[in-house]
Symmetry: C2
Subunit: 332 residues, 2 copies
DNA sequence: TCTATTGATTAGAGCGCTCTAATCTTGTAG
DNA sequence: CTACAAGATTAGAGCGCTCTAATCAATAGA
């Protein structure tokens, strides 16, 4: 279990430790002959540089700290995949902590990540107070995903929820729908802008918004539909639903089917997030797609710009969502 | 962005660096008075120990390397959640890499993880050859999840796929099914034992196994059902299907419905993994549950036992799955 | 008074690497 | 044959910490 060090490689290759260091960082100022000898020795010994020692000595870090509230949410899992791909491509590694939507746990997670002296921090939809984030931003660059910030030290990457909702409403109106209800995402970070977008789009079309309180879960979607059906009977029942997210939409569909209503013949349903769920042929859910891997990529890019000190102005990425039309929407 | 060091704290508290070090590791051999002074100084400066420097100096690591093939798979996401919870509780941190089911990328990921000199490695369903794993095991303790190993240096945590399949078959037989087909998971790491369990259970019940080649995706499930329908017409059509996993099951359900067959009235379907998908009321899939968070916990536990050198014998956890009966199974 | 003994504190080396500055080799021009 | 620039190599300090062994202070025993 005791691994060779640079010194071992140097001894075997008959050169100094400094030369091995140069070869390992593939510096151009090493003769081909020596380089070959060093690489051979390293190969024979199974030597790999010690990243931690390297970053200590060089006063740089190749670690990006990532805090994700909940990996079970496919949306975050996708973003993390995007982060990892971009980080690996740039020679960085992710150190991951889960915060579990608890401010206390998130604080601990932040401290833990910072103690690695990461090159930067990426926080996915954190729930800690802005002060805690600004505090972290004093120690290293910070990028927020799915959360806004007013701090000049913090970059953000968000989906344009207003535009996404508008896309969905426009699609439904174009199909001929007039009574379109929105199942609100409650306290979720993304809920407010989606609701706002829905309201504006409805008013823009001269239609009356109908917002039903819900959550980003399938059971909440089912419950919301039951409430809806209590308030509105078939003649005035909304002919289309814009759910808070895909899970919510699936729940809503169940609720509708249980009540004997067919989707999309009687009621059209649109989700949000385009999770793998929506793509299942069994569901084939019309939904709003957020470019998740792209969000991960942009987050890493923004972070590295700060790390390399190429930029000091904050960046606010507002990504444009797109509508994926599948089989849960049709003319009323 | 330049953070204080132990030296700074020592100077401010009027003590030596070594004393600060003792306080930070809360050693008992420090007088209360000094301890208070040091903690105060640290607090005032916002000092936090530098984990990398610490592990370099102490020749120990608090980092666990995790390689996951695909975070989009909810199964792995759940296991990672379990890993993180257990690791955090033990004062360890996860450094995460995705391997994307590609041996080449996985090899790179392994090297990258090892260059951190982690305390140990946890590999979720890796596809690299056993030799590469044994090689890694020569550098630090390794635990495999959802993959077997014959190496004495490697611990494993697996779900008992044979038992899981048997559970499903028994359930179906008890409902009165006689013609039960299995949609095979193809090259997936878990497919072989599930198929074996299916075969044995069928033979045990005096029934003839029917295995249809498939994959662990929903589109493959749909395709497999089409093939099945080509080979077997209604009178001899299997009345129940054991899919390779939940995704596969959902695809199979779509295929059946498209062919005008109802689930579970005409054909019962059982999935495997109990992903969040299965729990959706809309699907309400009968499936085999693997205790995923528990698997994560056990993996960390096994790793730490090796790290602490409490054990040298390999451990083979074979977790007992359970059947979650929902709405896709009924009497034929 | 002097020496043990115990507990608290510190000096200093060293973990595996990087980086600056110094040194050693060449090749080439004068 | 010497001088010198350019390229190749190395010595050595230092990154922020831990750890061993040494030092120091205070009390107790003879």
């Amino acid at each position: 279990m005791v691994r060779p060090t640079m010194e071992d490689v140097a001894a075997r290759a008959g050169v100094s430790r400094a030369l091995v260091s140069l070869v390992m960082r593939n510096s151009p100022k090493v003769s081909d002959q020596r380089r070959a000898a060093v690489l051979l020795a390293a190969e024979e010994l199974g030597y790999e540089p010690h990243v931690m020692a390297r970053s200590l000595a060089s006063r740089t870090s190749t670690v990006l700290g990532v805090m994700v509230s909940d990996l079970r949410n496919a949306f975050f899992a996708d973003v993390v995949e995007g982060l990892d791909a971009a980080a690996q491509a740039a020679g960085f590694n992710l150190i991951l902590n889960t915060g579990g939507r608890s401010p206390v746990r998130e604080r601990a997670a932040l401290r833990s990540l910072l103690s690695f002296r990461p090159a930067g921090l990426i926080l996915l939809s954190p729930v800690v107070p802005a002060a805690a984030i600004d505090d972290a931003a004093g120690q290293c660059p910070v990028v927020l995903v799915s959360r806004t910030s007013r701090s000049a030290d913090v970059d953000t990457v968000n989906d344009d929820g207003e535009a996404g909702s508008a896309l969905a409403v426009d699609h439904l109106v174009r199909l001929g729908h007039r009574r379109i209800a929105h199942l609100d995402g409650g306290g979720a970070a993304t809920a407010a802008s989606r609701r706002r977008g829905y309201r504006q789009a409805m008013i823009g079309h001269g239609l009356e918004p109908i917002v039903i309180g819900s959550e980003h879960t399938d059971s909440a979607g089912e419950k919301a539909v039951r409430e809806l059906l209590m308030q509105y009977s078939p003649p005035i029942l909304p002919t289309a639903l814009l759910a808070g997210n895909d899970f919510n939409a699936v729940g809503a569909i169940s609720g509708l089917e249980e009540a004997g209503l067919r989707v999309p013949e009687d009621v059209s349903v649109v989700g949000y997030d385009n999770t793998s769920l929506a793509a299942l042929r069994h569901l084939s859910l019309t939904t709003v797609d957020q470019p998740r891997t792209e969000m991960g990529r942009l987050a890493v890019e923004a972070l590295l710009e700060r790390v390399r000190e190429e930029r000091t102005e904050p960046v606010r990425h507002l990504l444009h969502p797109s509508l994926v039309v599948r089989s849960t929407t049709a003319a009323p």
